[in-house]
Symmetry: C2
Subunit: 687 residues, 2 copies
């Protein structure tokens, strides 16, 4: 931790005006001039369209890209992991052992994976803003806004048949209608063993240098045939050189760079603290469950993996907000912005109250924040039951009046999820619910209304067992019958999970209403005001916070100062063998047997992973790293530990995106996995 | 940077009572019980004597050990570097190219290297303390103390013929007479190329994971023949396993763990700041000089190396003292100690004023601190001239009245240094003096009396050139003539450097007197008081601050949490090739050609470096890592970046000693350097 008088000043600049390399830019507003000036590269509309249409988003929460004209999609092993798990059985553990289909008929259907391609973007800001009357209260505006958004989405879906989402950008400074082409026949072609993809395990997660083959290849089918994917990224097996300009196209999940200081302090003191505690509790519960048998360990593996990931990420975010330097920067930032607004009488009248309103909101939110975290049973069955109970009620209402998540445009994906054939493990459900109820009792006490309903006078153990044993919802057919039967079928159901969720429903709806009226509506109005104020003062040469929608970032391949020395721009296969031998091949640093057996066939100096200055965040996993020619040179799979504060600030000094190198992937496919055919397809040979 | 409520508390404990693994213990008081309890290993007197007599100290500032019965001494390349440099010429660059003498007659004499073996230790505390009357002023005590110490040393030298030093431990809580057997015929047997020893250069310096073959082998001769070194450490080429108990025997240079808060704040705000600034300036000067020709670069290389090392070390120390957590710990520490003293009326009367007195000292010291740093010309010639001018004056005085450094016991080593045949480069001298004078003018202004004398109305450039061109002191014979000629010869000399130092001498003596009367004498008395108070309260189950005298530390081979992940307990040759390839073999990460050419002959999984929890610090470089059987398993060459605060606190969590592994050294000698004969000698075969 070097201290320098300049640091704070530098960060302030970067936050306000998006310094070089910073930014998760929307495809309608990329920083063409900055890139032209700094790298003499012209970002043409053709290049942008090609990259956008070659990029995909997964409903599992990751990104990917088409890498062959036959629907081949490249993403991370850890994005494919959920599907590998859902296809696994006690006999076949595809997560542990990997998977390769040398011929199309062996490709493996994904239970509930959905792929979205962003085919068009339309600015609907004016229409949303025009619908809102300044004389309306925040609650009235909230309803109006929800209504007009739902209407825009429905009109678009009806007109185009495409998934249509209105996306809120710049906190409401802009609204855009994004239309997606959706694919649901997505088959797994290749995934390495988990240990090859996730070498170094939780310790190495979110760090660099890394040595991970965190890749997977799916193939998108349409009408039972491989998709004729005209827009795809060519494969460049040489990768990118140190200092080379590269782009990342993907779907960063969420950031809070435009949040006010009051909102950040609320995150630090309430939200992140509970989010962390919740995950740690769930990991403990699942670890205890895993210890009871190898099969249980397999069943819980995927969830523990994602929860551990979350713990490390949230810890990094929390440390960012506990860093006095970052808070000081944010404060200076806000004071400058606010002074500029207050210095202009017209801006002050329109937007000047937004900060105080947001500060008041978090004061109001704080006493009820625990309900958001601990009114849950951590149960998959209960979550499905909750969807079904709400679904049959909501679809009877006008689109605009529905609960969030139940608008027309969202229904198809929701039904897809509600009917997923992915297995649900009764023992794990009981363990999860038991753990959740004990934790919630600690946090909320026995008089909490949610707990009273769930426990119904029983112990957590008894309640959990009764709930799971009394439900048949693990069977997708049972769920389908309820959905098809509508409100009457749900009302008549004696399934324990349906009954529970019928009983919980009023509580849930009350909270949602309270939250919308007191929090969301004020946040949305203030967000729109700050968004507009920001445009007025800083212009549009900026980017919105991440929203799990498609963004473009640019940067260069570059090492960084690390723990007293320099981290290299790339790692090689040598390093994989070093790190394994350094720990005597002990997990999580053990080599997959094929890596040990076939070492002699490898060129160990081949790059395996590399780092770039691209500004990314969770959700970008699986994004392609693209060179100026529009070819893929790498595959984003992580950020370094220094990037965890990226939720709040970007600092080019040490914030790095971590990617798998195309040379490493090519060598692995050919030399380690005997997947020459697949490598040939990537290289452009005919299938 | 994880935050935890417990951290501060843990550190407090470790500082006060020396937690497990902490401590640089004197050989008379090793923590036998703790080691017995924790590791079930009995530290016998025989084991201790054997290890002590196998350990050596170099006058260059490092440590080493005998590793064969024929006087072979193992140490670091960077400890041997000064001698390699001094033996080098424009034709033969031994620093760059390394050196190997396959036969004894090829072994290379070191110009001015001295090896000391600690052959006996005697507690003389009582004699020193008895000489001091409580009624004396600090200045009187200072003189008395200096007198009795000089007398003890002289008596010992006369009686035994051995180098005899009275060592101040626990700030004066104890005084010990250490007697050394001294060897000055020390010949170089083997050193690898600098780039193999110092792979990763300044960036990797003080960090880990590392991949450095930082070793050298000397042979000590006596009466023209290899020393019959009965006490030597056997070579264990397997090294030590993770978790194995190991010892380090060597000479840690200095620490400030027992300093008061006022003293630490003074270090932070004055001493370290100037020490850093001075070194940075010298590096800039020498870098400019190096840029003028490859020969100049070679000449300046060794100094730049040591100065850069210092910059990184001091930066780490400064960051430690700027860390509010460490300062808070130190404060809590001191308050606890002080309260305990004040709670006992007798202790309070005897020792209670010491803290306030030390706080007053630094107040007095601050206004003149710059003189200590900037009353220098950075010139080797001037330093030699200064020694000569003082030497001829001091040796006429009674031993006790002399300036520090000129006592009888120190004279032989001083004469050895004054007559060193190591080359002095005139161009580099001029560059160094010019740079120093400009810097000093910036710091002190043109009216500073030192600068007035040195500049004598000239520009820095002119003054530097005149001083160097007007001196013949680069010739050891000229120096010898002056020394032999005594005061008369020095008074009559017109050599510019002698004249300069004659003129500067009154200023220098005034400052030394002022410093002794106002700073040192008070510090020594207060130090004795605090030392005694510490024994009274905490007992003798503790260790003194480092004093570049022989110490034993214990610990285990162990990785540590690093930058979000775990650093491994060891590294392998694989890692060396990875780090080189990761940077495209660019300096300072370039492989020596033999490493590239002979890679196929190596077992790349062989350990190269490793880390242990042993508590070490600068001066320990070259120390052997010793297993329970008393065999050498490694060679200390560095501490990790987390250990730089070790000057003030030891934290087992991440403080690590970095060592070269015996397996790596053995493989390198045999496979890379064709030094089978040497490897055989280490392995115990007959020479």
């Amino acid at each position: 931790m070097k201290r320098c008088a300049m640091c704070a000043a530098l960060v302030i600049l970067s936050v306000l005006t998006a310094s070089a390399e910073e930014g998760m830019w929307t495809f309608d507003n990329p920083p063409k001039e900055a890139i032209q000036q700094k790298y003499h590269f012209t970002l043409t509309q053709e290049w942008l369209d090609h990259v956008r249409l070659s990029s995909v988003r997964f409903n599992d929460g990751g990104s990917g890209s088409f890498v062959s004209p036959h629907g081949l999609v490249l993403t991370n092993h850890h994005i494919a992991r959920g599907q590998l798990q859902k296809n696994s059985t006690a006999e076949h553990d595809y997560v542990r052992d990997g998977f390769y289909a040398p011929t199309p008929d062996q490709e493996m259907k994904s239970p509930d994976l959905e792929v979205n391609v962003l085919v068009s973007m339309e600015n609907v800001t004016q229409r949303v803003h025009d619908a809102l009357a300044p004389s309306q209260t925040p609650e009235e505006q909230f309803k109006t806004r929800q209504g007009v958004i739902a209407q825009i989405e429905r009109e678009s879906t009806e007109k185009t048949g495409l998934r249509s989402d209105v996306v809120t950008l710049y906190g409401g400074g802009e609204y855009w209608l994004y239309r997606y082409k959706k694919y649901t026949d997505v088959r797994l072609v290749f995934a390495p063993e988990m240990q090859a993809a996730y070498f170094g395990g939780d310790p190495d997660n979110f760090t660099y240098p890394r040595y991970d083959l965190d890749m997977a290849l799916f193939r998108v089918y349409e009408n039972g045939k491989p998709l004729d994917s005209r827009n795809y990224l060519k494969w460049n097996p040489k990768g990118a050189e140190e200092g080379e300009l590269v782009f990342v196209s993907g779907n960063p999940g969420s950031t809070d760079r435009l949040s006010t200081l009051a909102q950040l302090e609320f995150q630090r003191d309430y939200e992140l603290t509970h989010a962390l505690s919740l995950r740690k509790n769930r990991i403990e519960t699942l670890a205890r469950f895993s210890a009871t048998s190898p099969e249980h360990a397999r069943e819980a593996g995927s969830q523990i993996f994602f929860l551990s990931n979350g713990v490390k990420a949230i810890t990094g975010m929390l440390e960012g907000l506990e860093n006095p330097r970052i808070i000081a920067t944010k404060k200076a930032d806000e004071e400058k912005f606010r002074s500029a607004v207050e210095a202009d009488a017209s801006l002050k009248a329109k937007y000047g109250n937004a900060w105080d309103e947001l500060a008041a909101v978090v004061q109001k939110e704080a006493p009820r924040v625990k309900e958001r975290f601990y009114h849950t049973t951590d149960s998959r069955l209960s979550a499905l039951a909750g969807y079904i109970v709400d679904y049959v009620a909501e679809i009877k209402k006008p689109n605009a009046d529905r609960l969030p998540g139940f608008h027309d445009s969202q229904l198809e994906s929701l039904r897809y999820e509600m009917l997923s054939p992915a297995p649900i493990y009764a023992d794990m459900e009981i363990a999860a619910i038991t753990g959740a109820l004990h934790r919630n009792l600690d946090q909320l006490g026995p008089n909490d209304p949610f707990l009273k309903i769930v426990l119904n006078g029983k112990t957590p153990e008894q309640a959990a067992a009764d709930l799971v044993h009394g439900s048949k919802l693990e069977d997708p057919k049972v769920r389908k019958a309820l959905i098809d039967g509508g409100q009457a079928a749900v009302d008549a159901s004696t399934d324990s999970m349906i009954v529970l969720n019928r009983n919980l429903d009023p509580l849930r709806r009350d909270f949602i209403k309270w939250f919308q009226d007191n929090v969301e509506s004020v946040e949305q109005r203030a967000g729109e005001q700050l968004g507009a104020a920001r445009f007025a003062i800083y212009g549009r040469n900026t980017y919105p916070d991440a929203t799990f929608t498609l963004r473009l970032s640019y940067g260069t391949v570059r090492g960084y100062p690390m723990n007293g020395t320099i981290a290299p721009p790339k790692t090689t296969f040598y390093g994989l063998y070093d790190r394994s031998a350094s720990f005597n091949n002990k997990p999580p640093f053990n080599l997959m047997p094929r890596f040990a057996e076939k070492q002699k066939e490898l060129d160990l100096s081949t790059p395996l992973n590399f780092v770039t200055t691209n500004d990314i965040i969770g959700g970008n996993s699986g994004s392609p790293v693209i060179n100026q020619a529009g070819a893929v040179v790498g595959l984003i799979f992580d950020g370094n530990i220094e990037s965890l504060v990226g939720n709040y600030v970007y600092d080019i000094k040490a914030n790095r995106a971590v990617a798998v190198h195309t040379a490493g992937m090519t060598q692995a496919l050919r030399k380690l996995y005997g997947a020459d055919k697949l490598a040939d397809e990537l290289m452009g040979a005919e299938r």
